[in-house]
Symmetry: C2
Subunit: 573 residues, 2 copies
C-alpha cells in the first residue's frame, strides 16, 4: 500500500500491526457480514441498476437525479420521502399517514440509496417494518402517538451501540462485539417513537474524512458516484443526501458530520459538546477529553435540524440518563432577518486555499447576503496554524495506542487514510500528561481569543468552507483544517447548502493559480488534486459557526441564510 | 521535616527541590510580604488581643464568642456585619446604608478576624475605602446603584488573579507574579458593584485541606484558635466564619470550599463545574481536566448562597467573558417542604469511620429530618474506594510535575501536607495518556452509577460528612474521601451547619471503638487523632449533594434543611 502523494511525510512502518495470518481468521466473518448485508436488499425495495457500479463511478453518474428522471418511486413514495420530518411527524401522529406506509417509502429509497452509494453497514428492514406495524397498532388502540417522533424513520451511524447487534466502528477486531443495549441517544430516539432500519457506513478507525473500511468498502456520493460522500459519517451523508432517511445521526470530532453533509447535499449540525448524549458507542477516543466528540443530526433542511434538536433535547431530556449532558433546554429563537446579521467570512484559512467552486460558493453567498442587507466583513483567520497543529496533536497524544491496538487485534490491512491519520500530530509518539495539559491551555486560549474577537467586533457568525474543496475523490482528502478548527474551539457549526453545484466549465483555476506559491506540501497535495472535470455536479456546501452553547442562534440564522440563498432545500432537483 | 504519623507511606526524597541556597534569595521578599501585611493592620480597625496567640491556641480560645462578649464592635457595626448580604444590598442600593459605613464595619471585623486567625494574605483597606467612597458618590450623583452588588464587601481567595498585585497560590516562586488584570469572576463581581479589601490565606500548592505556607503561615479556626479552618480556602473559612466578610469566594478540587465552610461554621457551595468562571487564576492544575476545579461562594446563610449565585450567574453572565462557562441561568426554585424530600444518608463511606461529633451530627440531622416528615434512608456507599483511588491518581497523573517545578523554582521548604499530597496516587510516577484516559472512563462510569442510583431509588439528595472529623488540628488532616467523592462525580454539594458544636463531654468514642479494627492505615491515622478534649466547640457541619447541574435544587433543599435544624444561621452566638 503506498501513498504516492504523501511522500513528504515520513510514514511509519505500520507492518507491525498488519498481520495476514491473524487477519485470515477474520475473513470468513467479514464475508458473512457482507453476505448478510447483500441479503438484506429485499426485492420489494430494490431496483435494477442502470449499469455496473464501476462504470457508473467512471461516468460520474448522478443517481439522485436519475430516480426523479426515471420515476423510480411511486408518487406517494416521492411525496412521503420528500416531505420534511417536521411535517411528516404531525401527519403520522394524526394517522393521516401510517407508520407502515412511511416506513416502506423510506425503506425503498434507502435500499436504492444503498444500491448506488453503498451507504449501509447493516440493513434490517424486517425489524423496521415490524416496529412500524406496532406503532400503527398503538395509535389505533391508544388514540395517541407513542411519542413526539412516532413513526419517523431515523438512520444511525454504525458506531453507536445497537441492542443485540455487533458494533465495530470500522475495526475488524470488533466484528463480534455484540452490544447488549442501545446507546443512550438511540434509546432516547426509540422512546420518542423513531423507527430504525439501517446502520450506516463509516471508515476504518472513524478518523478519516472519507469512508473506506474492510467490512463493506467505501461509500459513494449521491450526487456523483465518482466522488466520496465524505466522512466519517459517510453513510449518513449518502443516505440523507439521497433522501433515504429524513434524519440521520452522525458524529464529529474533526468534521465528520459537516464534511458529509456539505459534500452530499444535505445539512448537518455539529452541536456544542455535551448537548447530545454520546454514551454508548465505540470509539478509539474513549476517555480523550481535549477535543470533544459530538453527535448531531443530518437532515435535508435547517428546519429539520431545529425540529430534531428541539424534540431530542426538550422531550428526550438526555441529561436524565447521561450525567455528562448539560440540561440546557433547546430555546425557541426567532428567525433573524438577514439585514440584522453581521457575518465574518473566512475566504481562506491561511493554510489551504479553497478551490474554485468553494471560492464561488463563498463569493455568491457573501454577495447575496450583502444584497439582502447583512453586514458582511472579511474574517482574517486567527492562529489557524496553531489550532491545526494543536488539534492534531490532541487526536494522537496517546501515541495512537488506542487505534493501534484495536487494529492490531485483527491484523487487518490499513487503508490509505488510516495510514495518513496515524501520522497526525507527532505520529506515534506518546505525549506526556504535562504536554497534554499544555495543549489544553493553548486550546482554551484559542477559544477565548475567538470569543473575544466575536464580542469585540460584534460579529454574530463566522461563515467558512467546510473543506478547501467540494466532495473529494475516494480517499483523496487530507486536510481537515476548515472543520477541525471548530472542534478545537467547540463552536456550534452548521453545514448547509448554497444551492450551487460544481460546474467544470465555470469552476476553473484562474490564471494566477499557475504561479501560486504553495504555502505547504499539504496545500500543494490538496490543490493539485483539483481537476475541474473530476467533480461534476458536486454540491457546494459551507458552514456557519456561532458562539459556544448558542446552537439555537446558529440554526435560526441558518434558516434565514439558506432562504436568502434560495437553498432552503427539501427537494434538490 | 518528618511525618511521624505517616511512616506507612514510603515518602519520596523531596530534598531535590528543597534548596536552601536558592531559597535564601526569596527570603527578603517574603519578609517584605509579611511586613506589608502587618502594616495593613490599621489602628482604626484593630484591637488589642487578649493574650499571646500561642497561648490563645493552647487555650482553644474562641475569638468569635469573645467579640460579642466584650462588645468589640459598636452596635451599628454589629448590626451591619450580622446582616445577610441579601438584606444589606437593598439597603445599600436605597442609600439606607452608605457603602463607606458598610465597608468600615467589615474592614474592622475582618481586621480583628485576621489578628486572631491569620486569615489574610493581603489586606488593602485603603483601596476598599476609596472604592466605597466612589460608590457613595456614584449613588448620590446617578440616583441608582452601580450594579446589583453595589457596595457589598467580598473577600477573595488569593490565587484568583488580582489586577496589579502578585498572585502566587502559595508558591514562593510566584512572589513577584504581578497579574495585570483581575480574574474573570473578580472582574465580574467588581462590575456588579462589589468592594474588595482582602485576599485570603491558602496552603502551599493549594492541595491541602489545611493552610500552611511559607508566606504568612497557617490560618486558624474562628471558633477555636487551636484548630485549623481547613483548606485550601482556609482564609475564606476563617473570615466568613468570623463575620469579617459577608461573602467569600473560594475554590474546590477536593473539598477546598466545603472543608473550610463546615469547619469554620459557615456555608459553602461547590457548584457543578463550569457554572462559575475559573478564568484568570494560578493553579498547578492548569490544563488538567479529569477532576474539574470549581470556584464558589462561602457565606453565613444558605439564602446568601442563593443570592450570590443568582446575581453572579444571571446578571454577571460569566459565559460572555469566559467561553468555558455554560450559559445555564440560575433558576428560581421553590423551597421544598422537608416532608417532600427523600434523603440518603451516608453514615460511613467505608473508608474512614466518622468521629463521635460527626456521628452525632448525622444522627441528630437524620432524626430531625425524619420527624419533620422527610423520607430518610441509609446510603450504602458505592465504590468509594475506587473513587478515592481514581481521584488521587487524577490529581497527580502528571507525576506532580507542575507542582514540583513551581516548588523547585524557589527551593522553598515543603510543608508537612505538601509532602503528603505529593504522595497521592502513584506519587511521583507520571501516568501515560492511555492510563489517564482509562481513569476518565472509570470516572464516567462512577458518575453514571451514582446518577442511576439516585434515579432508580428516587433519591433527591445525599447527606454526608464533609470529613470524618470536625475541624482538624493544624496540618493533621489526611483523608479527603468524603469531599473528593463529589469532585470526581462533579455533583453540586452544599456544606452547611447543623447548629451543633463538638462537646468533649458528649462526643467520646463509644466502648466498641477500643476493639475497632481499622480498615486501613489511613483510617487508623485519622481516628487516632481524635482526642475529644482537643476539639472543643468546633462547629459540626455536613454536606448535601444533588444531581449534576441541579445546583438550584441543592441550595433550595439546604434552606429547608437548615431551617428544620434551627441552623439557618446568620448569627451563631
Amino acid at each position: 500500500m503506498s501513498i504516492s502523494h504523501t511522500s513528504f511525510l515520513t510514514l511509519e512502518n505500520f507492518e507491525g500491526f498488519e498481520n495476514a495470518e491473524k487477519y485470515a481468521s477474520f475473513v470468513p466473518k467479514l464475508e458473512a457480514y457482507r453476505k448478510k448485508l447483500e441479503d438484506a436488499i429485499l426485492p420489494e425495495y430494490s431496483i435494477e441498476l442502470p449499469g455496473d457500479i464501476d462504470e457508473l463511478k467512471t461516468k460520474q453518474f448522478n443517481p439522485l437525479k436519475y430516480i426523479y428522471e426515471k420515476n423510480l418511486l411511486s408518487e406517494a413514495e416521492f411525496n412521503i420521502t420528500d416531505t420534511p420530518a417536521s411535517e411528516l411527524v404531525p401527519k403520522l401522529a394524526k394517522g393521516e399517514l401510517t407508520a407502515v406506509e412511511v416506513f416502506r417509502a423510506f425503506a425503498k429509497r434507502a435500499t436504492i440509496a444503498h444500491q448506488f452509494t453503498n451507504c449501509a453497514m447493516e440493513i434490517f428492514n424486517d425489524e423496521g417494518l415490524e416496529r412500524a406495524k406496532y406503532l400503527d397498532e398503538y395509535l389505533a388502540k391508544e388514540k395517541k402517538p407513542i411519542g413526539p417522533l412516532h413513526g419517523l424513520p431515523i438512520s444511525l451511524k454504525e458506531h453507536m451501540h445497537y441492542k443485540g447487534k455487533a458494533t465495530h466502528a470500522g475495526y475488524v477486531s470488533l466484528v463480534d462485539n455484540i452490544t447488549p443495549k442501545h446507546g443512550n441517544t438511540t434509546q432516547i430516539l426509540e422512546n420518542l417513537g423513531a423507527v430504525f432500519y439501517i446502520r450506516t457506513n463509516e471508515p476504518q478507525t472513524l478518523m478519516h474524512l472519507c469512508s473506506n473500511n474492510n467490512f463493506v468498502g467505501a461509500a459513494r456520493n449521491p450526487h456523483n458516484l465518482g466522488l466520496s460522500p465524505g466522512g466519517s459519517s459517510s453513510g449518513e451523508g449518502s443516505i440523507v443526501g439521497f433522501g433515504g432517511s429524513p434524519i440521520g445521526i452522525g458524529s464529529d470530532i474533526g468534521g465528520s458530520i459537516r464534511g458529509p453533509a456539505a459534500f452530499s447535499g444535505c445539512i448537518g449540525l455539529r452541536p456544542t459538546s455535551k448537548r447530545v448524549s454520546l454514551a454508548g458507542g465505540v470509539s478509539s477516543g474513549a476517555g480523550q477529553e481535549s477535543v470533544p466528540a459530538v453527535q448531531g443530526p443530518m437532515t435535508r433542511s435547517v428546519d429539520d435540524i431545529d425540529f430534531w434538536m428541539s424534540i431530542y433535547i426538550n422531550q428526550g431530556k438526555p441529561w436524565e440518563t447521561d450525567c455528562n449532558v448539560i440540561p440546557l433546554p433547546w430555546r425557541k429563537v426567532d428567525v433573524p432577518k438577514v439585514d440584522s446579521l453581521t457575518i465574518a467570512v473566512m475566504y481562506d484559512d491561511g493554510l489551504v486555499k479553497p478551490t474554485p467552486p468553494i471560492q464561488r460558493g463563498l463569493k455568491v453567498t457573501a454577495d447575496k447576503l450583502s444584497k439582502a442587507g447583512a453586514k458582511v466583513v472579511e474574517f482574517k483567520p486567527i492562529k489557524t496554524k496553531l489550532a491545526y497543529d494543536t488539534v492534531h496533536k490532541m487526536y494522537c497524544c496517546d501515541g495512537n495506542d488506542a487505534q493501534k491496538s484495536l487494529l492490531a487485534e485483527s491484523g487487518e490491512p490499513l487503508t490509505k487514510l488510516t495510514q495518513w491519520n496515524l501520522n497526525f500530530g507527532d505520529g506515534g509518539r506518546p505525549f506526556s500528561i504535562t504536554e497534554n495539559r499544555q495543549l489544553n491551555i493553548i486550546r482554551d486560549a484559542l477559544k477565548q481569543e475567538y470569543t473575544d474577537f466575536l464580542n469585540e467586533n460584534k460579529i454574530d457568525f463566522i461563515l467558512s468552507p467546510t473543506y478547501n474543496n467540494v466532495a473529494p475523490r475516494p480517499e483523496e482528502i487530507y486536510n481537515w483544517s476548515y472543520t477541525s478548527l471548530f472542534n478545537i474551539l467547540d463552536l456550534p457549526t452548521l453545514a448547509f447548502q448554497t444551492g450551487l453545484f460544481q460546474d467544470p466549465k465555470v469552476d476553473k483555476w484562474d490564471d494566477s493559480h499557475s504561479t501560486y506559491e504553495f504555502r505547504s506540501d499539504l496545500e500543494k497535495l490538496e490543490l493539485d488534486n483539483y481537476i475541474p472535470e473530476n467533480f461534476t455536479g458536486a454540491p457546494i456546501g459551507l458552514q456557519l459557526s456561532g458562539r459556544r452553547y448558542f446552537d439555537e442562534e446558529v440554526v435560526a440564522a441558518g434558516k434565514s441564510i439558506t432562504k436568502a440563498l434560495g437553498a432552503d432545500l427539501y427537494k434538490v432537483y
